[in-house]
Amino acid sequence: MSEVDMAVIKPEMMKSYIWLQTADGSIQQVEQEVAMFCPMICHEVIQKGMGSSKNYAISLPQRVNPAMLSLILDYCRFHQVPGRSNKERKSFDEKFIRMDTKRLCELTSAADSLQLKPLVDLTSRALARIIEGKSPEEIREIFHLPDDLTEEEKLEPLKNTTDDPRIRLLNRLYAKKRKELKERQKLKNIEVEEERVDDRSVDDLLSFINGDNGDSKGIKNSKSKKKNRRRKDQQKNTSANEAIKNHNKEPNGLNQVCCSAEVGQTVWAGVGATSNLHDVEDDIFDNKNELDDGDIDDEIDPALKEKIDREVEDFARRLNSDWPERMQEILSFGHERKPVHFSLNGNGSLRRYANSEQR
């Protein structure tokens, strides 16, 4: 071409465009530097020579619909400019990410199919932030998830771990150690603790209601860790008794709870007098398998132990709150440990809390 010819060439021809086709058939052209920001498109252009004209438009994956493509190209258009500062980019990202969760999910999927990792990270983090700190009900509502698991299914994965031989071994070792520590403390603490059972439980309940981790209040109030553990175990056992009685009568009857609570208390006081029982109680709640292994003194009839375990679990399953904490508890102890909702004194706040659980 002569020099004159070169001068006549229109400026648009100097800029390159890439042709893209979405799954619905529509074709559009996009500035090259913007489109090439996506690794998948880059690959198609370089390795396969596609995208240079309408006939050879690059077929985008099905997950990329025109709306998503438009968003992705906005993202690329901003970020492919080299001179931008980190602050600018971050600011853009924060504004860009503000969209409803449905679109966020679609965008994650589309960006993933185009291998645009920075955008996948951005949207994934946004989705994680949405999930973080929310209750299961809230999450289900936000994302329109079906509540299609039974209570039993929900706990199944966690229960299975207690059958794992490694866990049994570990639990056996822990139990042995705990026993040792308890032997030393037993005689000192027994009288003091019996008196204090009631107070401890109420404190624990209130703190649970107020949203603390069920254990933490106990820790703050106790002087020694061993004392505290025993106290908690006693209190939990009390609750378990309540739970059992409740389950047998009417799970939803609150009045029943209050009555049985008092009954249970009396029963407990009598039961608690037996010093040997302390060891066993602890073991029931800390370690179901341990009993099966017959590693500890069998002071309570094994059948009754099993029954207590099952009832506690069954009953606790009806509750559905604070799952991360509950799950951690489950994994820490082998099974549920929050029948505290229904134990002892039925003051106003307790009732209210219990009410919210009865759906």
Binding site: D112, A128, R129, K154, K225
Partner: protein, 442 residues
């Protein structure tokens, strides 16, 4: 009638299904989303719906954190929790294992956790321990020091670096040792010797960590962040032998003795010291190849610059930042003299020392430095205080800089508006050696 009701239900459920976009994402993406949550939160998603029941068990990231400073029984619960999680999580190839916990009991159980992680080809380990009175430090199991797949290792707080004779970390690229204790001076050297491809090192040290010298001799090191916590005047030796080191960030609050044997590839250096004194002269000399240097100090002790007269000029230095504390403005003249190709100069009054040093003085260089004549194009002065010596600096530069494009002066907020206006008038009156020079004032 029953049929139509059923149909209605079907339509509704289909409709609902189409809204549940997140469950339609492939497992890989859901793992990615869950990887930004702690494992406890990720685990809680298992009860959301059938789709989510087992997804969390394949997330290749474990982030397990116990509540800090919890000294009593719940630590046992955390322990069992971790055991159970390690069993439930089925990933064979762990990308990251982040563990923050309190050392309440004898740490024998911790070994199992680390061995599990290593056996799962863990790529990144982030361990932070809160020691207690009975168990102040955790010694890591030796298995960790021969982990073939480890790329990133971060240790902080209650860890004691007790290193076996043989260390082999063939993939380790990033190492962070933050406020940990060392068995002796050799432990860290042995660790470095076993890192064949280490590129980035972050080292935060405090006195009482059982070392008297820090020997950083790593042939592959590209980035080094070293920080010494303020602890009183205890001698500590810092030796750096890193021929491919590109970036050095150094914070010296101890009395460090510098032995920079080889940092010849250095491109960027950011140095912060509390007391700038003679012992920093070897450090300054070692920075002579750098392109970007920033120096930040609080206090200045009269330095013997005769020792500094460099045999090498700072020929590569393109951008220089001086955050001046209480005195030491003469460094400006020094650097102008030795940096022939300086293009950008940033002068700042250290915020820690604002209001101090009003009696300081400044001596201009003997001869007009070459960089002013041929290369200096941008000058920034932050925290300008309208003091005599500061004005004379600005005047000198404006007068002698032939290719200066911009002089940007920002005063700190303390000056009242009319003083600012007077100041601006004064500055505008200064003669400028460069016709293209713009004066910006904040």
């Amino acid at each position: 009638m029953a049929n139509s009701v059923n149909q209605e239900i079907n339509v509704n459920s289909k409709h609902k299904k189409s809204y549940d976009r997140i469950s339609q994402l492939p497992d890989v993406l859901i793992h990615h989303i869950l990887s930004f949550l702690s494992t406890k939160e990720a685990m809680a998603t298992s009860i959301l719906s059938k789709r989510w029941l087992w997804v969390w068990t394949s997330v290749p990231i474990l982030d397990l954190q116990d509540t800090p400073f919890c000294r009593t029984d719940p630590n046992l619960h955390f322990r069992q929790f971790v055991d159970h999680v390690l069993i439930l999580n089925k990933t064979a190839s762990l990308d990251k294992f982040c563990l923050k916990f309190n050392l309440v009991d004898h740490p024998s159980y911790v070994k199992t956790w680390f061995r599990d992680a290593v056996s799962r080809d863990v790529k990144e380990l982030d361990i932070s321990v809160h020691g207690t009175e009975s168990f102040p430090f955790l010694k890591l199991p030796f298995a960790l020091f021969t982990a073939k797949t480890l790329h990133v290792l971060k240790l902080s707080h209650g860890v004691e670096l007790h290193v076996p004779g043989t260390v082999s970390l063939p993939c380790l690229k990033v190492l962070n040792l933050v406020w940990i204790k060392y068995t002796n001076d050799e432990s860290v050297s042995r660790l470095f010797a076993g890192c064949y491809v280490l590129q980035e090192l972050v080292l935060h040290k405090h006195a009482g960590d059982n070392t008297t010298c820090s020997n950083i001799s790593i042939p592959t090191l590209k980035t080094l962040f070293v920080r010494f916590a303020p602890t009183g005047r205890r001698r500590h030796k810092l030796k750096i032998n890193a021929p491919v080191l590109k970036q050095l960030n150094l914070e010296d609050n101890l009395t460090l003795e510098f032995d920079l044997e080889d940092v010849s590839s250095l491109v960027e250096a950011n140095v912060t010291v509390s007391w700038l004194e003679n012992r920093h002269i070897p450090l300054l000399k070692a920075l002579s190849n750098a392109k970007f240097v920033s120096f930040h100090w609080d206090w200045y002790a009269e330095m013997k610059w005769r020792n500094f007269r460099p045999y090498r000029l700072f020929l590569n230095l393109v951008q220089m930042e001086l955050h001046v504390g209480y005195g030491g403005w003469n460094l400006l003249s020094l650097f102008l003299e030795i940096s022939d190709h300086l293009e950008v100069l940033v002068l700042a009054k250290n915020d820690n020392c604002r209001g101090l040093g009003f009696e300081c003085s400044w001596k201009p260089p003997k001869y007009v430095p070459k960089c002013l004549l041929s290369s200096l194009s941008m000058v920034y002065f932050k925290g300008f205080e309208d003091l005599t010596y500061q004005l004379s600096m600005v005047k000198y530069i404006l007068k002698n800089a032939r290719v200066l494009k911009m002089m940007d002066i920002s005063s700190n907020g303390d000056l009242p508006l009319d003083s600012k206006i007077d100041l601006l008038k004064k500055l505008l009156m200064f003669p400028r050696g460069s016709k293209a020079c713009q004066l910006k004032f904040n």
